[in-house]
């Protein structure tokens, strides 16, 4: 794997060796030399630099938060970071022309993944910016009664898939604009903006093994959907999003989309099998585990489980060598538990007990098995420490207790 085992000297060189697929790391834990000095732009004095220490990093099971760059994406981007650095809007020289050509190729790659025309793809800084552009469209409405429906394609917390095609059909028949934030869905499940009658779609680079800091918004041309630009300037991207398009980043996004189109079916099969393995093993070894979200209309790579009588953050702390996320209040800055779990009617104590497992393109069976083993061990241990588990074992109905208000 390209940069995972890089020492300080190697990391400063440019590596262009193509790697078809990331190799499974040993024992599921990745070795990396810790050296924060390498972040400085000025190379430190080799003589006085301290010995870098070896540190094992956690397994990564949090792909809904972000994904690593696919090595093929990095390969596609590197030339544009190093050699072909022209501004794609420069009209008068080869640097501009080759950069523009790369940008348009990337645009075609994104369009192809969702069944759109390249003229309908506008590059942005990410799905958040795309969402803002789409919602602001309300203010640019043609008719006073025009409204907008905005729905996530795949939910990032529980992995539930929304019935996009049905929603699209209803919106189309009622002449209402339909926007979907497809950040967690693009390249993972088949999407077609025409079959599903989608008018606006937000796309995120770093959720699909592409670079961070880039995304796109799909804006339907027929019938035309008018949007209002969030930022004004030089009129790039048909005036809908001024600012120099960052060629290396969009090349990365394009490459990520193309790779996703190739790998979608295989990834989905493999991830489904791993997800099944994780859920079965956990459910067979532990009682009182609930899977949150509709099990039928569900993207397999996002598994949200509630472990009754064990609080989420304490489980994350116990699973210190696996990178995970929780819907518990403790892990959010606001101390409010997950609004998604609340919306689907999950009991509040179960919302505090939820953990999200993310399985992605590079997740190995070994990593899943390790995570499951540790999870089972620590849930059992934390239940031994839990007054709620003790009360339930004694036959007490927790709902009958008058808890102290705090």
């Amino acid at each position: 794997m390209l940069l995972r085992t890089a020492s300080r000297r190697v990391a400063s060189a440019v590596l262009v060796t193509p790697v078809p697929r990331a190799k499974a790391p040993t024992r599921g834990l990745r070795l990396r030399v810790v050296d924060h000095a390498s972040q400085s732009a000025v190379p430190p004095d080799a003589v006085t630099a301290p010995e870098a220490e070896s540190v094992l990093r956690p397994l990564y099971m949090d792909v809904q938060a972000t994904t690593p760059l696919d090595p093929r994406v990095l390969d596609a981007m590197l030339p544009y970071l190093v050699n072909y650095y022209g501004n794609p809007h420069s009209r008068t020289h080869a640097y501009g022309w080759e950069s523009e050509a790369a940008m348009e190729r990337a645009r075609q790659q994104v369009a192809s993944l969702i069944g759109a025309d390249p003229r309908e793809i506008i590059f942005t800084s990410g799905a958040t910016e795309s969402n803002n552009i789409a919602i602001k469209e309300l203010e640019a409405a043609i008719r006073p009664d025009t409204s907008l429906v905005s729905v996530m394609t795949v939910n990032n917390e529980i992995g539930v898939k929304q019935p996009i095609a049905e929603i699209g059909r209803i919106c189309s028949s009622k002449k209402v604009y339909f926007h979907t934030d497809a950040a967690q869905a693009v390249g993972k499940i088949p999407l077609d903006v025409n079959d599903m009658k989608i008018d606006l779609m937000s796309i995120s680079g770093h959720k699909i093994y592409g670079p961070k800091g880039v995304g796109a918004i799909y804006i339907r041309r027929r019938p035309r959907v008018r949007v209002e630009a969030l930022q004004s300037g030089g009129g790039q991207e048909r005036g809908m999003r001024s600012g120099t398009v960052p060629t290396p980043l969009v090349v990365g996004l394009g490459a990520a989309c193309e790779v996703a189109q190739q790998e979608m079916e295989y990834d989905h099969r493999r991830i489904s099998k791993l997800a099944e393995r994780l859920i079965q093993k956990i459910m067979q070894s532990l009682p009182d585990v609930v899977m949150n979200g509709d099990p039928e209309h569900h993207y397999p790579g996002c598994i949200n489980l509630s472990f009754a009588y064990v609080e989420g953050e304490s489980l994350l702390m116990a699973l210190k060598d696996v990178a995970l996320s929780s819907g518990s209040a403790c892990t959010s800055a606001s101390l409010e538990p997950s609004y998604v779990l609340r919306a689907i009617g999950t009991d509040e104590d179960l919302a505090h007990s939820s953990i999200r497992f993310g399985i992605g393109r590079f997740t190995t069976e070994e990593e899943v098995d390790y995570t499951v083993e540790k999870c089972i061990h620590h849930v059992k241990r934390l239940r031994e420490m839990s007054p709620l588990w003790e009360m339930v074992q004694d036959g007490i109905d927790l709902k009958s207790i008058k808890w102290t208000q705090h």
């Binding site: 834990l29 810790v34 070896s54 540190v55 094992l56 990093r57 956690p58 009588y309 064990v310 609080e311 989420g312 953050e313 304490s314 702390m317 116990a318 210190k320 060598d321 518990s328 209040a329 403790c330 800055a333 101390l335 538990p337 509040e348 104590d349 505090h352 031994e384 420490m385 839990s386 007054p387 709620l388 588990w389 003790e390 927790l398 808890w403 102290t404 208000q405 705090h406």
Partner: protein
């Protein structure tokens, strides 16, 4: 030897209370010498059960806890059981949540865990006192 660097997210003291637990368990709540405090609520994500065993001289000789809550909550209640041991019932009343928070290096967002631990101590002490005066009219207020 390999280390996993968690110092950026959780203080080492907090993790230590989970990895090397002391005083996790239960005392006989029906015993007259045992005071049991149960504070918090599952809906809040924080429930602490703290129990103390007091000898005839009014000294706390044993303490046990069980907690449903985050790492800081577990550590706060664990530390509370460590601190009450060896103290008299009156001395234990002086344990402050600020001391617990300071000892565990709790960030501001986790201060409520130390407050709940202080509540748990007080609840256990109150329960013990209640048990010492069974038929003498008005019970002490908790």
């Amino acid at each position: 030897v390999v280390l996993v660097d968690l110092s950026i997210s959780l203080p080492a003291q907090v993790v230590d209370h989970y990895e090397n637990p002391r005083n996790v368990g239960s005392l006989d709540k029906t015993s007259k010498n045992v005071g049991t405090g149960l504070v918090g609520a599952p809906a809040c994500g924080d429930v602490m059960k703290l129990q103390i065993q007091v000898d005839e001289k009014g000294k706390i000789v044993d303490a046990k806890f069980k907690t449903f809550g985050c790492g800081s909550a577990i550590a706060s209640s664990s530390l509370a059981t460590e601190w009450v041991k060896g103290k008299t019932v009156e001395e234990a009343l002086t344990i402050k949540n600020t001391d617990i928070a300071k000892e565990l290096c709790l960030p501001p967002v986790k201060l409520h865990c130390s407050m709940l631990a202080e509540d748990a101590i007080k609840a256990a002490l109150a329960d013990y006192k209640l048990k010492q005066e069974p038929k003498k009219g008005e019970a002490e207020k908790t």
